[in-house]
Amino acid sequence: MNRDVIIQQILNGISLGGVYALEAVGFGIVFNILKFSNFSHGGVVTICAYVGFFISTRFIPSLWVSLALTILFGGIIGVLVEKLVFRPIRVQNKPLTYFFVNSITVAMIVQQFFSALWGSNYYPFPIFIKESVFQLGKLVVSKSYLVMLSMSAAVLIALSLFLRRTKTGISIRAASSDIHTPALMGVNTDFIVSITFSIAGILAGVTGFFLGMTYTVTPFIGSMILKGIIASIIGGMGSLGGGVIAGVLLGAMESLLIAEVGASVTPIIIYFAIIVLLMVRPQGIAGKLYSVKA
């Protein structure tokens, strides 16, 4: 395989990796605060993919407007899921297993709801960008991939600014290390948890929209969150920066492997590599290992 093909594959992979990074951050930010694996994130991604599809095909066939509306909707859905499903058991101080069971139930409900309503059909997004590629020397850069990459980067930078510069962001970071202590300092924990879920929902909105744009919209698009979760593990669970790096790496790795050994073997290699990685370096890139605390 020559060098140009490799660089080309890496370029394509990085833009998909941006979406994985968004998934990893959306998954990790809830994990940080409440310390459970939030599978409902996949459900919110699915809802957003459908919402993005309906807005862009039925109402406003414009990329930016429908993307913005989807993001807004994602944020609202995130809060709604938190209020309806997680708030009641959090108030009762239930063990983490309950959170997990509820989150996986949400994922199941969403998938089955869309299967029941619209069947397992494929819904393609409209083509937003007419002239889809431009040449860069020998490389071909797809414009929709470029939009995806820049948008993912913009969202992640905005999120990192939000977490570092605003008071709410700082409280979220404080709550990540311990959710009880900030409450003693006058932080409204319920509000912080809601904000965290809405951030995850916003990220899910971007992810769902882009996944729908790259592939097609099906009820099973939520299972794509597995790639984000894998990125989250490689990056070190709960480390947002590590998740971003791992997501981009995973995307590049994946498209290289697909070009090299084929699409059917790639998942086998990736998942096997994850099992080996957990044996060798479970703390991931960021070196953050969550263990059970008393």
Partner: protein, 282 residues
């Protein structure tokens, strides 16, 4: 005829639920890869009988062995870590097994699946298996094994502090669960006579966990009742199977909020005890 078929399917799926019960209900470990062990069992049994012309009994044993090997591969690196790693890796493992089954097409038939498996598991075998497995787990429920499981579920650190080897105990539970799943998978293959890679995705594994929590994670009989009700309804009202899952989903959220012990969680059962010496240690 129809009702005996419904009963067979229900009992096979109840075996799957029973196999997850010690893992999820008692120990609080969640495996989204239980479908992978079911698939491993089913495929090993089918390939053993069809391609290597082994008798079904030996294929079933082989299926259990390969299920145990799979359990060791997944369990040894992940059970040392926090529970979430175990959960996420089992999820990845189920996808890996699915990809493997699709890839090794000359052995597994790829996406076409394997058809024409001999019918070797009728209602008597399935019913006896379900009853034996039920009583086996019911007996575990009286042993120190179960108390250790529940201790790990409630507080892993404290359990370690009393001197229980948490890691080793988790591996034992996981392998027990994987082997029963593989056995159930082999029965499934010999009963349905057709298998394909997409039969057991993560959603099926998730449903097994959800049924345990709706039925009541501390009551084995409650879990068994719930799984019988759920799968019987699914077979009788096949046209409404998607809506059935929606109802189950809403039910589990309501149950966990308002009745955390589960729908049948308060049923206490008395079973005859057989003492398994290897469970009584510690």
């Amino acid at each position: 005829m129809f009702y005996s078929k419904v009963l067979e399917t229900t009992l096979i799926f109840s075996i799957f639920v029973l196999s997850v019960y010690p893992l999820s209900g008692l120990t609080g470990l969640f495996s989204l890869g239980q479908g992978a062990f079911i698939a491993i069992g089913a495929y090993t049994a089918a390939i053993g009988t069809l391609q290597y012309k082994l008798p079904p009994a030996i294929s079933i044993m082989l299926a259990i062995c390969i299920g145990i090997i799979g359990g060791v591969i997944v369990g040894v690196p992940t059970l040392k870590l926090r529970r979430d790693y175990f959960l996420l890796i089992t999820f990845g493992f189920s996808e890996m097994v699915r990809a493997l089954l699709l890839w090794m097409a000359q052995l597994t038939g790829g996406a076409m699946g394997i058809a024409g498996i001999p019918y070797a598991a009728g209602l008597p075998l399935i019913a006896i298996s379900a009853i034996v497995i039920f009583f086996f787990i019911a007996n575990i429920n009286k042993s120190a094994f179960r108390r250790n499981c529940i201790a790990i579920r409630d507080d892993e650190l404290a359990t370690q502090a009393i001197g229980i080897n948490v890691y080793w105990h988790k591996i034992k539970v996981f392998i027990l669960s994987a082997s029963i799943s593989a056995y159930g998978g082999a029965l499934y293959a010999f009963n349905m006579m057709f298998i394909e890679p997409n039969l057991f995705d993560w959603l099926e594994s998730a449903k097994l966990i959800i049924i345990i929590f709706v039925g009541g994670m501390n009551s084995l009989l409650g879990v068994f009742l719930m799984s019988v009700i759920y799968y019987t309804f699914g077979e009788v009202f096949r046209f409404a199977s998607v809506w059935r899952d929606l109802i189950l989903g809403v039910l589990v959220i309501v149950v966990l909020i308002f009745r955390p012990q589960g729908l049948f969680g308060t049923i206490k059962t008395v079973f005859p005890t057989i003492r398994f010496p290897f469970l009584q240690k510690n």
